[in-house]
């Protein structure tokens, strides 16, 4: 599907990767750097065709390390930029994701998750990169990660990811999976005025007064770009508000790293999004995300049909973690059922917030996701 326009308002029958790509385009992404990898390749392929149609740039780099570096460069040069990959490439990107965090670079990393570790299962779905997304790079930091569970969301959440990245100057991740990526569904692309687009804050001071890393109240510093005459310096080293290296100054390090975390933590309420289905009176709360959430939803419906008070809590934002929502649900729930396509990653966060409420983890991976019946079983077992 090619359209010649950057915003293809209307209904389309496309797969998730394409939807993601169109989302990026719609969000104003004008730079993509990547490296072929299943099952994210279609995003690159589609953007290599689409980007030039309206002056955007597609570049295939020599590896994912380079792709991530190029994305940061393009972002500092003023373009909204992204890359897309899968587990192995995601690992390679971690180094420069750290750099993006340190230099507060707005950018989007799409990870279409597959089975790992290592090369693992290139063609099968997984949810094994959830923790890598949060902790993958060295040092202390916060990022934002979103989890789409439909092709439509592959579009809307990509747009959202860009908005958040630009607003908070933070690398934002879209953690899809092989199924959402390759699934074909109807997607509605809104018109320009329906579409909310956020752009990074520009400095309001004169170049000589500009301090590139001096934050506003929201803890996010306005961002000048290369070539705009601000002549600023940015570095991966611990730096002061000038951007100058301060590698041995504890105070500077403490202040900087805390702010990098706080600008996400303190704005968590504005960032976090969840979908709550029949949660008000739920005894059994199914906590599921990504493609799994769709089996979970039908399981919850079936359970209600059987008279079990089941409800669905679907985190759309995986990071920052929707702590308040889980705590609230935990208050009157008897149990949590957490189906994940991994050996248990996000379930640990659920357990931390569920406090005394028992959490039942439902692990399945290596083939197709959980069926509704498998989850229904778990709901039944925990409804005691």
């Amino acid at each position: 599907m090619t359209g010649k326009r950057s915003l293809l308002t209307g209904a389309h029958f496309i797969n998730g990767d394409t939807a993601c790509a169109e989302g990026a385009v719609a969000a104003g992404c004008r730079f993509f750097a990547g490296y072929p990898i299943t099952p994210a390749t279609e995003i690159a392929e589609h953007l290599s065709e689409r980007m030039p149609e309206f002056g955007g740039i597609y570049v295939q780099m020599e590896d994912e390390i380079a792709s991530m570096a190029a994305v940061i460069g393009a972002s500092y040069a003023g373009l909204k930029s992204m890359t897309a990959t899968s587990g192995p490439g995601f690992s390679l990107m971690q180094e420069n994701i750290g750099l993006a965090v340190m230099t507060e670079t707005p950018c989007v990393i799409v990870d279409i998750m597959r089975g790992g570790p290592s090369t693992g299962q290139p063609t099968l779905p997984g949810q094994q990169d959830v923790m890598q997304a949060r902790w993958g790079s060295h040092g202390d930091y916060e990022i934002i990660a979103l989890s789409p569970s439909s092709v439509q969301e592959m579009f809307t959440l990509t747009v959202e990811a860009f908005n958040l990245a630009e607003k908070y100057r933070v690398p934002t991740m879209l953690l899809g999976d092989e199924i959402v990526g390759h699934m074909w569904e109807k997607v509605l692309i809104p018109s320009a005025d329906e579409l909310k687009i956020v752009n990074r804050k520009k400095p309001k001071v004169l170049p000589k007064e500009y301090l590139p890393f001096k934050p506003d109240e929201d803890l996010v510093p306005p961002m000048a770009c290369f070539g705009e005459g601000y002549r600023f310096h940015a570095t991966g080293l611990t730096h002061d508000e000038h951007g100058y290296p301060q590698t041995t100054n504890a105070e500077v390090q403490f202040k900087l790293v805390n702010r990098l975390c706080d600008k996400i933590r303190k704005n968590a309420d504005k960032i976090v999004k969840v979908e709550e289905v029949m949660l008000e009176d739920a005894d059994v709360v199914v906590f599921g995300y990504g493609i799994v959430a769709r089996s979970a939803l039908s399981a919850v419906r079936k359970a209600r049909a059987e008279g079990i008070k089941a409800g669905l809590l679907r985190p759309i934002t995986l990071w920052p973690f929707p702590e308040k929502q889980v705590t609230k649900a935990a208050k009157h729930a008897k149990a949590f059922v957490v189906p994940e396509m991994n050996c248990g990653q996000l379930v640990r966060e659920v357990e931390r917030q569920a406090k005394t409420t028992p959490v039942h983890f439902l692990s399945k991976f290596g083939e197709e996701p959980h069926t509704p019946l498998e989850i229904l079983e778990a709901i039944r077992r925990n409804n005691k």
Binding site: F31, F226, G227, P245
Partner: protein, 282 residues
């Protein structure tokens, strides 16, 4: 001598509030920085359109010292980062000043591919034959038998010939000088800045503190004297034969050709596609 506080005529090109630089006495990095700003001055460069990018290592600090937009990337990634910048805004002049280890060990892959694409990035490699900042370990340019902290019995690895590598990878301008050849180096830097495409200038530079003193070159001066003794200018000779030995250091310009740059090809394509697009929209 005049009494008033002295202002170096080139200080406007430097972030004086970051001076003095961190480099050791006799280190060649300062000379390279000096030549670079001389070149900028002679070219009357628009500093607002110049981005200086560097990787990790002593010389990596250069980006911080030039009064331009500048970025100090992760180890070895300066070229990949710069590729993004150049593609995103082709109007910007992009210069990378980094070290031999950064550009050719951890960053080697990025280097050859950038050269292959012929993207408009100007790379200055300050070659001091070892990893200076980490205390003098062996690197991709360390000469055979040289003593470093990680080759205490003498280096057994064959070093890269950087100008040969650059030429073979497709760079359109390749030169090598030593920190003693400040005039010619400055000329080369000027030439490089005016070319369109991937350019490479290698600067052989003294690292007296951690490389020199382990290899019978106690001071920067000893090394500069060696440069004076051993350098032979062989312009446009075969870079494959451009040796670096204690007896002979072949310096000069080796490649100076014209080739359509990647960003130019790319953006021309985009332009033509856009025109088609417009027609189809009408």
């Amino acid at each position: 001598m005049t009494k008033e506080i002295l202002q170096h005529p080139l200080s406007s090109y430097l972030r004086t509030d970051m001076m003095p630089h961190i480099w050791c006495p006799g280190c060649g990095n300062g000379i390279v920085l000096n030549c670079f700003v001389h070149a900028l001055d002679e070219l009357k460069m628009d500093l607002d359109k110049l981005v200086v990018i560097s990787g990790i290592g002593c010389i990596g600090r250069t980006a911080g010292y030039t009064n331009t937009d500048s970025f100090h990337t992760t180890h070895g990634r300066s070229i990949a980062f710069a590729t993004g910048v150049k593609l995103a805004n082709p109007e910007l002049n992009i210069v990378i000043v980094s070290g031999d280890g950064d550009l050719f060990a951890i960053g080697g892959n990025h280097f050859i591919h950038a050269a292959r694409r012929n993207i408009g990035i100007k790379v200055v490699c300050v070659n001091n034959f070892n990893y200076g900042m980490t205390g003098g370990q062996l690197g991709p340019t360390t000469p055979l038998d040289a003593i470093t902290t990680t080759s205490p019995y003498g280096n057994s690895e064959h070093p890269f010939n950087l100008v040969h590598l650059a030429a073979a990878s497709g760079a359109i301008y390749v030169a090598r000088w030593t920190t003693l050849h400040v005039r010619r180096l400055t000329q080369s830097l000027k030439k490089m800045m005016q070319k369109e495409g991937f350019c490479f200038v290698e600067v052989i530079s003294p690292c007296p503190e951690v490389f020199g003193r382990r290899n019978k070159l106690k001071s920067g001066m000893d090394m500069m004297e060696l440069f004076k003794k051993a350098s032979v200018v062989e312009n446009f000779s075969d870079p494959a034969k451009a040796e670096i030995t204690p007896e002979k250091i072949v310096v000069g310009e080796f490649v100076d050709i014209e080739k359509m740059s990647y960003e130019k090809l790319f953006h021309e394509k985009i332009a033509s596609i856009n025109e088609k697009t417009m027609e189809q929209v009408r």
